[in-house]
């Protein structure tokens, strides 16, 4: 199935980030073709060298770590739980699939607010109940490491694959370490998160196989192209294109007024074009086009109004391409390339 001339890109087939991943890639201009929903393969027409492989999030990590797939998208929590020398996190901020891996205890434990409280309770269990604190989790590696680092040594990990939140109610665990998105499930199970008990702030991330990335130009090129789309699309979300009509003596005078405020200077400066033949008055009208950051939009529009701007339109920007993909440049540095 795996053609040595092609690149295998593993995507989540199930779970909370499966659907959002398809939407995300589609928003990046990388529409996915999955001919049969029951099959595990697919293609991206914009990346003709790429074969898609749909796998569960954990299997995405395994497949990329062992090199079966060269690239993959999965959750950061899963990557941290299964560290591997050949695994590189290429982009850890794809801005979807947000969740937290955290420690939660029964709400009835009103004496517990911090991990320090749990440290003491673990000692109490040991001394008074002659047993360990039982922790239900699927994230055994991260849970063990985190608890030890917080001075909690007397615990037993109860591994379970699902319905972790129910463990304290059913009675086979005292506390849990689990993924939380909104906290609704925790509340419904009478659990509460510990404030300083967040182990991983997770979201979707792009991973790659280090050995393939180091040696194989084909994988490097595909990664570069993929990151061009991803970076440009993520950057694009931050900006809008704004056009405004301004009346004035000349393009140069207007340019000076517009550029006087850093908010409306745009990425380089305003583009100004005359509006031809539309006016009964002797005044000249111009259309100013600038690219601005979304978070500064209203202040920018206010400034444009003050210099006589009117009829402002704002259009979303789909992509912003800089000189190079910053993520790919960072990856090359991480891999030790010049």
């Amino acid at each position: 199935m795996i053609d040595s001339q092609r690149v295998t890109f593993a995507l989540p087939s199930k779970g909370a980030i499966a659907e959002p991943t398809l939407n995300f890639l589609s928003d990046c201009g990388l529409r996915i073709d999955k001919p049969n929903p029951r099959q595990y393969t697919g293609t991206i027409p914009a990346l003709p060298d790429v074969d898609l492989l749909f796998q569960r999030v954990t299997d995405v990590v395994y497949k990329v770590a062992d090199g079966t797939a060269q690239l993959g998208i999965t959750g950061l929590d899963v990557v941290r739980e299964h560290p591997h020398d050949d695994l590189v996190v290429i982009h850890d901020n794809l801005r979807y699939g947000y969740c937290k891996l955290l420690v939660a205890v029964p709400e009835a434990w009103v004496d517990v607010e911090s991990m320090l409280d749990l440290t003491e309770i673990a000692l109490d269990f040991r001394e008074n109940k002659r047993r360990n604190l039982r922790v239900a989790t699927t994230y055994t590696h991260l849970a063990r490491r985190f608890l030890h680092a917080r001075g909690i040594h007397h615990f037993t990990l109860v591994s379970a694959e699902g319905a972790i939140e129910a463990a304290p109610t059913i009675g086979y665990a005292d506390i849990i370490v689990d993924l939380v998105q909104t906290g609704t499930t925790l509340r419904e199970n009478h659990l509460k998160p510990i404030t300083d008990g967040v182990i991983v702030e997770s979201q979707a991330c792009l991973i790659g196989n280090r050995r393939w990335l180091e040696r194989e130009p084909r994988v490097q090129n595909t990664t570069a192209t993929l990151l061009e789309y991803v970076d440009a699309a993520l950057q694009g979300r931050e900006y809008s294109q704004l056009t405004v009509n301004v009346c004035g003596e000349s393009a140069a005078v207007i340019a000076e007024k517009v550029a006087a405020n850093p908010l409306t200077r745009g990425l380089q400066g305003p583009t100004i074009a005359p509006i031809l033949g539309a006016h009964a008055t002797d005044q000249l009208w111009f259309t100013v086009t600038i690219i601005i950051q979304n978070k500064q939009m209203l202040s920018a529009i206010e400034h444009l109004r003050q210099i006589g701007g009117t009829q402002t339109t704002v259009t979303p920007v789909r992509y912003v391409f800089f000189e190079q993909s910053p993520t790919y440049a960072r990856l090359r540095a991480d891999l030790g390339f010049a």
């Binding site: 020398d85 911090s114 008074n128």
Partner: protein
């Protein structure tokens, strides 16, 4: 670049490995000559064995894994294994043994994931009480260095037993005591100090409860207030459903009261921190340090006084017999070691550049902690052979 694997690291240090091999053979012969028998311990043991003390700084680096449902660990050092072996061989706790160990020990440090294995050489003297045993071990650690040609070593001597004894005057619970002792390095750090530690404790150990206004805890009418408070909590907990996770309402209320009690102990804790700050500022040659230290010991604490006298006698013994030159010995009461099982004097040996070559101390409770029927007096030390090889390589 592929990070260097454990094996690569191993080969990178060929020279040091050769040095290490040579001096470990020399040391083994030297210790054997003085009556220390070479003993082997298993590489893999139940992780539980190493989890006896919750305050151990090093436990979060224990290399653990699960095997057929059992949590096992690669040995992180020899002392715990020695105590366990002693229990097996001498369950009555009535024999004196002199043991030496050498070999690989392991740690799993997330900061250095490829430095798993280190070489350690250790010596344990179990079953013998008193200052003679302490002096024997310290002298042995220093003489061993002379034997393999390490020059310019310095011994820093501390006493965790004395620090614990002095904290007793503040009537703190065991968790508080333990947390305060782990703050010794912070108290000693000019960028942190007492105010920093106290503000940290306010956020953690000393915070009472979110449903609680801080002044509440300080009122005179504690009994009535607490009864009211307990009732509130019980009612509140009942509303929060039946998910109790293995604790009863009684457990929760009891601990809540303990926590509130602790929040009222802030003045004692501040006073304890003052004392620890003063003690950790001492770093001097023996006679001056003992004088300074004695000034902090209230006459109401004869136990602490005795400890200082014994300690002082042990130091005199080392100096009078010229086992340690006075210029190479510093008293640092605020010294802290990585393992929490120490109960008495503790020490570090460093070279002039401050490189930690070894260290040890007294651990009288360990045999019982690892499952023995009684506490057996014990004292020992270990060399960090890799830093020792590095030192010899530099030298």
């Amino acid at each position: 670049m592929q990070p260097p694997s454990s094996a690569d690291q191993f080969h990178l240090q060929q020279t040091r490995q050769r040095i290490l091999k040579q001096f470990s053979t020399e040391l083994a012969a030297f210790f054997a000559h003085l009556g220390y028998e070479m003993v082997e311990t298993p590489f893999i043991q139940d992780a539980e064995l190493f989890l006896t003390k919750a305050g151990d700084q090093i436990i979060n680096r224990l290399f653990t894994f699960e095997r057929n449902g059992r949590n096992v660990a690669l040995r992180p050092e020899f002392t715990v294994s020695a105590a366990s072996l002693y229990n097996m061989q001498h369950p009555m706790g009535d024999q004196v043994v002199r043991w030496q160990f050498h070999g690989a020990v392991f740690e799993d440090d997330p900061e250095a994931p490829h430095q798993i294995q280190r070489f350690t050489i250790g010596v344990e003297l179990i079953g013998q009480r008193g200052v003679d045993a302490d002096a024997e071990i310290i002298a042995l650690s220093a003489r061993g260095l002379d034997e393999i040609g390490v020059r310019n070593w310095r011994v820093q001597l501390g006493h965790i037993g004395l620090m614990r004894a002095l904290l007793k005057q503040f009537n703190l619970d065991s968790l508080t005591e333990r947390v305060l002792l782990t703050q010794l390095p912070a108290l000693h750090n000019p960028d942190q100090g007492k105010a920093y530690v106290l503000s940290m404790l306010d956020q953690g150990l000393l915070s009472a409860s979110p449903t609680d206004e801080p002044d509440h805890a300080f009122t005179d009418d504690m009994t009535t207030q607490n009864t009211q408070y307990v009732l509130d909590v019980l009612l509140d907990a009942t509303q929060r459903g039946v998910t109790m996770g293995g604790r009863s309402r009684h457990d929760i209320v009891e601990r809540l009261l303990r926590k509130r009690q602790r929040a009222t102990e802030r003045p004692q804790i501040a006073a304890a921190l003052d004392l620890l700050t003063d003690l950790s500022a001492i770093d001097a040659a023996p006679p001056a340090a003992i004088r300074e230290l004695s000034s902090f010991i209230p006459s109401s604490m004869p136990g602490a006084r005795t400890l200082v006298q014994e300690w002082s006698a042990m130091i005199d013994l080392l100096l009078e017999t010229h086992l340690i030159p006075e210029t190479q010995l510093r008293l640092v009461p605020g010294l802290l070691r990585n393992w929490d099982y120490y109960t008495g004097m503790i020490f570090d040996i460093r070279d002039k550049q401050g490189l930690l070559l070894g260290g040890g101390g007294r651990y009288d409770e360990l045999t019982r902690l690892v499952g023995g029927d009684q506490e057996v007096p014990a004292v020992g030390f270990a060399y960090y052979a890799d830093t020792l090889a590095q030192h010899l390589d530099n030298q």
